[in-house]
Assembly symmetry: C2
Homo-oligomer: 304 residues x 2
């Protein structure tokens, strides 16, 4: 199975507590690291989790509330202090570039690397990034400012070689790649050996949806149908539903309903309000509706 995991750097709400840090995650797809949101403390959390700064290629910012982006300036400056040369990509609402540029000009006159800003349209479902391993799409969310989630979808991997059959037919090394890609093989005698005899199917394609911050929105469920792992904010429990509605956040029950509607594999909840002294109430409420719910915690690494 190719590497595809998520490390939680922070899963708290806007006001920091002793239990949680504000939002930031690292998504690792086959060794390539993508940062999702970048709250204050992100670079400290990267250190704590021994995540190599140089392997982070881009950051995806869901929206411009401070608890999702105040850590970016410090991280960009540290990249330069560490003599980064590889360009770094920032995917965010276009206002972020306008806000960050004067700070970069002031604090980091001689950056050791280039920053490429990519303005995203948070209101549309767009493919915003693609490489040979993964596609990343925006997921429009319903919040008090323009906001979107991100859907990471693995690219279909290669078929798995059946070592015994390769040996049986004495297939040379240089034909292996095309067989992995699905080609049949022709023996020196002209006999066609079907690919299905030589390989087993590729691993199923996995996907990870990051959805924070958002009010309850059933249209989201349609967009993330069958996602392997869904991170959905659960700022409140049902006892504070009016607060959730007022501030355009979700309750744990609502996150679970979205997971159920979308038929996802597992649900990961976070963005806990400081109004609650224990996180277990979120888990209990969500699992009542969607049993495959997991509580996000700082420094947790979870396989997609």
């Amino acid at each position: 199975m190719n590497k595809f995991d998520v490390t939680i750097l922070g899963c708290g709400c806007a006001v920091p507590t002793n239990d949680h840090l504000p939002s930031a995650q690292v998504v690792d797809v086959r060794g390539k690291l993508f940062l999702v949101d970048c709250a204050e403390g992100t670079q400290l959390q990267l250190r704590r989790n021994r995540i190599p700064f140089h392997n982070i290629s881009a950051v995806f910012i869901s929206h411009l509330h401070g608890d999702h982006c105040y850590g970016l300036m410090g991280l960009l400056a540290t990249f330069s202090l560490l003599d980064r040369t590889k360009p770094f990509h920032v995917y965010a609402h276009p206002d972020l570039e306008r806000i960050l540029k004067p700070q970069l000009d002031y604090y980091c006159r001689d950056l050791s690397y280039e920053i490429h800003f990519h303005a995203i349209d948070t209101s549309a479902e767009n493919l915003i990034y693609e490489d040979r391993s993964v596609e990343i799409r925006t997921l429009p969310l319903c919040h008090s400012v323009p906001c979107c989630g991100f859907l990471f979808t693995e690219k279909q991997g290669l078929r798995h070689i059946r070592r015994d059959m390769i040996d049986f037919y004495g297939i040379p090394h240089y034909d292996i790649n095309s067989i992995k890609e699905g080609a049949d093989w022709v023996t020196p005698e002209g006999e066609v050996v079907a690919n299905e005899r030589l390989t087993t199917p590729p691993d199923p394609v996995r996907s990870y949806a990051y959805c924070s911050d958002t009010a309850y929105d059933e249209s989201l469920a349609m967009r993330i149908k069958g996602t392997t792992l869904l991170y959905h904010e659960a700022t409140y429990c049902e006892d504070l539903l009016p607060k959730a509605q007022k501030y355009k956040h979700s309750t744990a029950a609502q996150a679970a309903k979205i997971a159920q509607l979308a038929g996802v594999g597992r649900l990961l909840i976070g963005h806990y309000s400081k109004c609650y002294t224990s996180d277990d109430v979120f888990l209990k409420e969500a699992q009542g509706i969607f049993p495959e719910t997991i509580l996000a915690k700082e420094n947790m690494r979870i396989e997609v």
Copy 2:
């Protein structure tokens, strides 16, 4: 003795490590809290040290390098999320206001309190703050950007009442305050009782000097003569003296020499470079010159 202590929130250098956070301290003078520098993570450290956000009345920023001020935006936003109403004062180079204002306008449209920016001249020794407990002065420092330290000097306290003498003369309650302030007392019979018979001297005046970041500068020693406690940066040890000179930082030995020249009570060192794996080398080097040296550590509280 009146309260006068320093809590170290961060005493590392620009690049965060697993051992240290960047610069921030809280100075507590008789229950009034002053923040000195405000690196990324300051608000998280305030929480960890259970320091009440509402009691912080001002921040003093030594210079506009990110490792001394990136945490300010988050802190100002959190004050508002916590419904602060008391004004907050920011003492810093005037550029800080210019850099922060657009961010405040964008992220915190409806601040619950007022922020007063006080532009300081880092090149002069000025009294920039005064209340009935403390005076705060700038200390020009020698760094790669305009930079100053801060000298906190307690105001002379009141004389201590000798309870036995008050009882002996039957002095009424309403005369105590003026006696504490140094007045003699006149008996109903017209006899003058000298204040010295009724009181003992006030506590000695204490002072705390925060000096970071700075190259070795003997003129600083003259300005902080006899200071009770000196925090002086010690980014490197003597083995990296050329680096210290290049980046306008100090070695532990240089910090100790300043402490010695100034005849301070105790020296607290910090701002350790990530080039060293242990802090003990800093302590050893400094104590060789100035034995009364203490290593700063995160979450340490030290009486002045």
